[in-house]
């Protein structure tokens, strides 16, 4: 497959779209969650069951022939069927997930034992009930298609749209699913300035967290006089609890590269670099495979589609450093130096990589570009809200029932995401907070659940969009401990260049460790607040400037917890060691004995009354009783309890 001219590619696209009967497809989710759940082995078994001996990752999309029943006529017809591995489909909690096309059916928690059943159901043309994905009320959906599954129905998948229905390896698949329409339109009928204007008009803002208007960035780079310009992909997704970019790079690498190619054409660049986090080896592999295929197909390289446009893409692997997600540090790292940020009073669009004008956008931002160019800025602006157009992908994780990868229009509220899509807090525990924006973001309490999720509202609320991690916390999460967790993380990841971040975070860490170790002192909360403000004022780069957010937002919304840690040395969430006692409320105890059975220290005894009681002397405060009690009769208290 090689396209030497624009019409070559257009003809090829026409041919595919005219193909009527596309046959049946069984897609096995190859997202990180499902893979860890053994989906690769299931895929191999599917291939074997369909009669293909070769089962390597590369050879999964072969077509086989099976007999399928046509209903209601009840007659049989020959159909082609193939099976393959996709990127992340989203419902990670219920993996391994299997998706059958073109029927659009989703199956969850699939095991090798379901393979026969699923293939049988395809032959019979009916859903496979046993593993149908959960519909309303958690019961298996009658017809498990997206609209009947709350987790999927409430999403708007544009960026993730193709990911459940194609192989991330095959360029043919990508093109068959609408890929490269954007580049065709750009090269055929748009001047580079027009593309910049179209992106500007779309209102697309940087999905890496900053929310800077992408089109403005492109234009400013285009207008910087230079012979060399660079386009970069920031795939250094370092926020703990975020895997959107990983999913995109692994599951739909071609769309990222198509966006990058359009961007390069728009700003006049011939060299692109994709900076990928070292911890994502599969993303590197998939991107490298995509680049190789695109070069062979003539969609990367010199004189692309006969238009005279040259564009080369390279991958640069990170070395395990969070600060390299910061734009100037990322560029320093690409240059082969320690990833230390530079003072940026002059923008990268004027002087960036190797002192040349550079556009750096996040993975998801680039993936938006082909859609905008294909469908127009007006279409894009019709999704989302006024100043926040389009969708945003989130990694919904933590103590939420349906963890997974979700995509929603900007402006969807936190409540809709967490409750309607996520199914609420896991194990029906009370909601305490949701953390967005990673270590640069903040924690928002229940009172803020109706905040629309967009760049401006989240910043106003004291958190931040960030790249899209959304971590749900329940009442067993200590907010002071969470602040300590993030500051520990940042101390570890600070590059150490500027004084406030290097020394200031260390001091914050000392205070937070005292607070969570029962050594808090009067005035610590205030000291933290002051120091946090000064660090964000004086730090050199975005890491330091936003490092205070986890502390400031938790103090803002959960001050009482800080005060308890500071003055009473008490942790109400039962997290900070030695700072709480556990007691069974005799009133509420129903004498079921579950606590006693599950106590690893064997220190819960049955009283004469039939109720249970914790002997404090042996209690290791692990919280096992707390977890298992069906009647919420185990309390965390701040009092000295005497063993009688």
């Amino acid at each position: 497959m090689r396209f030497d001219t624009l019409s070559d590619l257009k003809n090829y696209k026409n041919e595919i779209s005219q193909k009527q009967d596309k046959g049946k497809e069984i897609w096995i989710c190859g997202g990180p969650g499902c893979v860890a759940n053994g989906s690769m082995a299931i895929a191999e078994e599917f291939i074997k069951a369909l009669g293909n001996k070769s089962s390597s990752d590369e050879n999964t999309s072969l077509w086989h022939s099976i007999k399928v029943l046509i209903r209601p006529e009840e007659k049989e017809t020959e159909k082609l069927i193939r099976t393959g591995i996709t990127g992340c489909m989203g419902p990670c909690e219920n993996g391994p997930v299997v998706h059958v096309e073109p029927d659009g059916l989703y199956y969850q928690k699939v095991t090798v034992d379901d393979i026969e059943g699923i293939i049988g159901s395809i032959k019979e043309n009916i859903p496979y009930k046993a593993k149908a994905m959960s519909g309303l009320d958690d019961k298996p959906a009658e017809v498990p298609s997206a609209e009947n599954i709350p987790f999927l129905a409430k999403q708007k998948k544009i960026i993730l749209g193709k990911m459940s229905t194609m192989s991330p390896l095959d360029l043919e698949d990508y093109i068959a699913h609408g890929g490269y329409s954007g580049l065709i339109r750009a090269l055929e009928s748009m001047a580079p300035e027009e593309i910049c204007n179209e992106i500007k008009a779309s209102g697309l803002r940087g999905r890496g967290g900053g929310g800077f208007p992408t089109g403005v960035k492109w234009e400013s780079c285009r207008n910087s006089a230079s012979e060399m310009r660079y386009v970069l992909v920031n795939g250094d997704e370092g926020d703990p609890g975020a895997f959107m970019d990983r999913a995109l790079m692994e599951g739909d690498p071609y769309s990222v590269i198509e966006g990058l190619t359009i961007g390069a054409y728009a700003i006049g660049s011939s060299e692109g670099i994709i900076y990928v986090r070292h911890e994502y080896p599969l993303a590197v592999k998939r991107l490298a495979n995509a680049i190789k295929n695109l070069e062979e197909a003539g969609l990367l390289g010199t004189n692309i589609l006969g238009t005279g446009f040259d564009f080369h893409v390279e991958i640069c692997e990170g070395g395990g450093s969070f600060v390299c997600g910061e734009s100037t540090a990322l560029m320093t790292s690409i240059e082969g130096k320690p990833g230390v940020p530079r003072v940026k009073y002059i923008r990268s669009t004027e002087r960036g990589l190797w002192e040349s004008p550079t556009v750096l956008n996040n993975v998801e931002t680039w993936a938006n570009v082909p859609h905008i160019i294909t469908n127009g800025s007006e279409w894009f602006r019709s999704i989302g809200t006024e100043n926040n157009s389009g969708t945003k992908v989130f990694a919904l994780v933590g103590k939420v029932k349906n963890t997974g990868l979700v995509e929603v229009p900007m402006g969807t509220t936190l409540r809709q995401i967490i409750y309607d899509i996520g199914g609420g807090v896991a194990q029906k525990r009370p909601f305490k907070a949701v953390q967005t924006g990673g270590p640069s973001g903040g924690c928002l309490p229940a009172s803020m659940l109706d905040t629309p999720v967009d760049f401006d509202s989240l910043t106003e609320a004291g958190s931040m969009m960030g790249s899209g991690g959304m971590i749900v916390m329940d009442d067993r999460t200590c907010m002071v401990d969470i602040a300590r967790y993030f500051i520990d993380f940042l101390v570890e990841e600070s590059c150490g260049k500027c004084v406030p971040c290097r020394e200031g975070l260390k001091k914050m860490q000392m205070i937070l460790h005292d607070l969570t170790n029962g050594k808090g002192r009067e005035g610590d909360t205030k000291a933290l607040e002051d120091l946090a403000e000064d660090i964000s004022d004086t730090s050199l780069c975005a890491l330091g400037q936003s490092a205070a957010n986890p502390v400031l937002s938790t103090i803002k919304y959960f001050k009482e917890e800080y005060i308890e840690h500071e003055k009473e040395h008490f942790c109400r969430s039962g997290v900070c060691q030695g700072m709480f006692r556990i007691k069974i409320d005799e009133e509420k105890c129903k004498s079921c004995g579950l606590c006693s059975k599950n106590c690893p220290a064997d220190t819960i005894e049955k009283l004469d009354s039939g109720k249970y009681c914790i002997k404090q002397e042996g209690c290791i405060r692990c919280g096992a009783c707390f977890e298992v009690c069906p009647f919420s009769s185990v309390d965390i208290v701040n009092e000295v309890i005497d063993d009688d």
Partner: protein, 153 residues
């Protein structure tokens, strides 16, 4: 093939440009499990850059190490989702089972125990990885069992 030959092969694979310093060092790390002073000297000379720059890069990036790592690296994810779901206890248990501290190598040189910020499998938190394999929904006892079964080997 000795270390010197393997490094020569790695150098040959990359373009002779200082921008590939990190890429070369990552390859050496993977091949040798550490980066020796000899290796740093060779790379500096090959790329025509100062040894201090190579040393600065090696000491800056966590993926590079001057101490030889174990043949297998067990990584406990300490991302936020894993932290919330108890990764600290898993790490503690593995430290106990392997009788090493995080960052250390077992006496037989088999395992290195490390933490990782996030592996992007948050839905299965807490997660432990070994090589390219991930193990989800870990708990202290499950981790100990898997280790004993040799699942991490």
């Amino acid at each position: 093939m000795g270390e010197i030959d393997r490094i020569a092969e790695i150098l040959h694979k990359h373009r002779q440009d200082p921008r590939y310093l990190l890429a070369i060092l990552l390859d050496i790390q993977e091949s040798e499990n550490y980066i020796s002073i000899e290796a740093m000297r060779t790379v500096a000379e090959h790329l025509g850059i100062s040894e201090s720059r190579v040393f600065a890069v090696v000491t800056f990036y966590r993926a590079l190490s001057q101490k030889k790592k174990g043949r297998r690296i067990i990584r406990v994810c300490t991302g936020t989702a894993c932290h919330l779901r108890g990764s600290a206890a898993v790490l503690q248990e593995l430290e106990k089972q392997l009788a090493i501290k995080t960052g250390g190598v077992t006496e037989d040189g088999e395992y290195t125990l490390e933490t990782v910020n996030c592996v992007g499998a948050c839905a299965l938190a807490p997660v432990v990885t070994s090589g390219e394999n991930s193990f989800g929904r870990m708990g202290p006892s499950k981790a100990a069992e898997l280790l004993a079964e040799g699942a991490f080997a």
